[in-house]
Symmetry: C2
């Protein structure tokens, strides 16, 4: 059997035909028009499903179902997008509408970070593990958690909001207006703020020079550090500690076999992963009695959303 | 069928015959001799099992099995006590030794906080819920977590150490030597420290007077607050915030139907539970889109350990 996975993003709606090994056999992408009426957005999603079927040449009766990953708060069981800040799908009964338009009965939806975590656990960096925590360090901080092979979603799928745990209650304000959340320290956005502050404090540094020439992104501090800048290295060391504190919190609660780091920051590879691994091993509770927790970078990258959405039906 | 539940503590080994409704039909208690050789401690546990069988008059073939709750780090799957700071059971293959001595094949062991959470979820304050987090505010802070009706234990049962999540990374040292853990703010021990500091700062307060006369316990600050002392009320308000921060962290990760508060502090009832409920509802992520999380006091009290140990086999 085959599965269709749909990954809805603010920029594009990506669809793919996925086999039971988690391989994408055919892909189709449509530009998202996020402000359209929700019914039209759902029709666009359905059109991606149809294009994947047509383009791949798969027979309809070989399709086990359609899985959809969507940003924001998704009520998996009810099949409804509860909240989505970028795309006009709030309150939309996406699952049933999509099933009705496509005529494919088996449709499942979940949060996109959940889909990515499921994909990485089944077919990527966490393959073989039963318990994983995936932390996506991007514009925000997303978490997807697998417990004994199943996605942890909480009551009404309202859980797994690990970006919004407090790690320093007197800390800076998070996007959600509460103080000291993990996201306010560990997102790429937060790292850019930390980089900016360091540039202002050390205008003589190479970091400040690079920032002045090229602007600040999540990569700036890593570029400067590679060129030997001490100010940049200090920013990275502190950022690693911030991320590490959140990872250790998840480790102490879940004690997963693997923690998977995704998002733009994970593209820095060993510069981020190795020190995080050391931090977790040093600070996890009961390290002396317990097996080591692997900390690894996500491997499926941009395909994780499609594969994980498809995996909702496996 | 009937179940035997054993609750091992630093002071006593408590055993009970439990039916399928979670009711204790017969109880027997033996004083713990924590420094004995581990084999002798296991024999003591087995003797409690035998006394429960004899005393209750249950037939051996009506016993579905024996469950044991033990403080410290327990490897459920392997049946071994990995670490226990009070009782000489470290490294003991408790499950198999107990099965061998009693001749009862079905023996399961788990951490005592896990057992309490399971008991409260199945038969106590969380009855009917599929997702619960139990937080025990005592000498330390213990957590027991139930996800979709099953205890969350993590890889090699090393998880659910929710007392050791960081809520303020520059905060005071925890018993485990790391900084700013939930336990360092929210345990009864921490509250006593907060009470002591307030007494030193406000020697003129009623709180300081009561502390001087009766010494400081986890109850002192509540006694003074009931008599109208403002200093005591301020200590409680701050303590509620500390506990609330941890509860919100668990809420954002698990979004359980119910958070259950156990331990000595929970005996203060509404003085603690009501403000914690308000704090969680106000601060949980996405409160406006999601069902309210119940925050309630544990109801099974001292029996939770026996009932939960028995429930390991249900």
């Amino acid at each position: 059997m085959f599965y269709i996975g749909i990954d809805i993003g603010g920029m594009s709606i990506k669809g793919g035909l996925v086999n039971e090994k988690g391989e994408i056999l055919f892909k189709h992408t449509l530009v998202t028009e996020p402000k359209k009426p929700s019914e039209e957005i759902v029709r666009d999603i359905a059109s991606v499903v149809e294009r994947v079927i047509e383009g791949s040449g798969v027979k309809r009766d070989e399709i086990a179902g359609v899985g959809v990953g969507c940003p924001g708060s998704v009520h998996d069981e009810a099949g409804i997008v509860r909240y989505c800040c970028n795309i006009n799908l709030v309150g939309t009964p996406l699952r049933d509408m999509l099933a009705s338009i496509t005529g494919i009965g088996a449709v499942k939806i979940s949060n996109d970070a959940n889909c990515a975590a499921l994909a990485e656990t089944m077919f990527g960096a966490g393959e073989g593990a039963k318990n994983t925590v995936m932390v996506t360090l991007g514009t925000g901080v997303g978490t997807g958690i697998v417990v004994e092979g199943k996605l942890l979603v909480g009551n009404k799928s309202a859980g797994a909001e690990g970006g919004h745990i407090t790690i320093n209650f007197s800390g800076p304000e998070c996007g959600c207006k509460k103080r000291g959340h993990f996201e306010a320290y560990a997102s790429a956005t937060a790292l850019m703020g930390q980089t900016r502050a360091a540039c202002e404090k050390h205008p003589e540094s190479l970091l400040a020079e690079i920032a002045k020439d090229d602007g600040i992104s999540g990569k700036t501090v890593f570029i400067a550090a590679k060129r030997g800048d001490k100010v940049a290295k200090a920013v990275i060391n502190r950022y690693i500690k911030y991320v590490g504190i959140g990872l250790v919190n998840f480790a102490n609660i879940f004690f997963p076999e693997v923690i998977i780091i995704g998002g733009g920051i994970s593209n820095e590879g060993d510069a981020v992963i190795k020190p995080l691994r050391r931090y977790v091993q040093k600070n996890v509770y009961g390290a002396q009695y317990n097996p080591e927790i692997k900390v690894v970078a996500a491997t499926l990258k941009n395909d994780a959303g499609i594969i994980g959405a498809a995996a909702l039906l496996m």
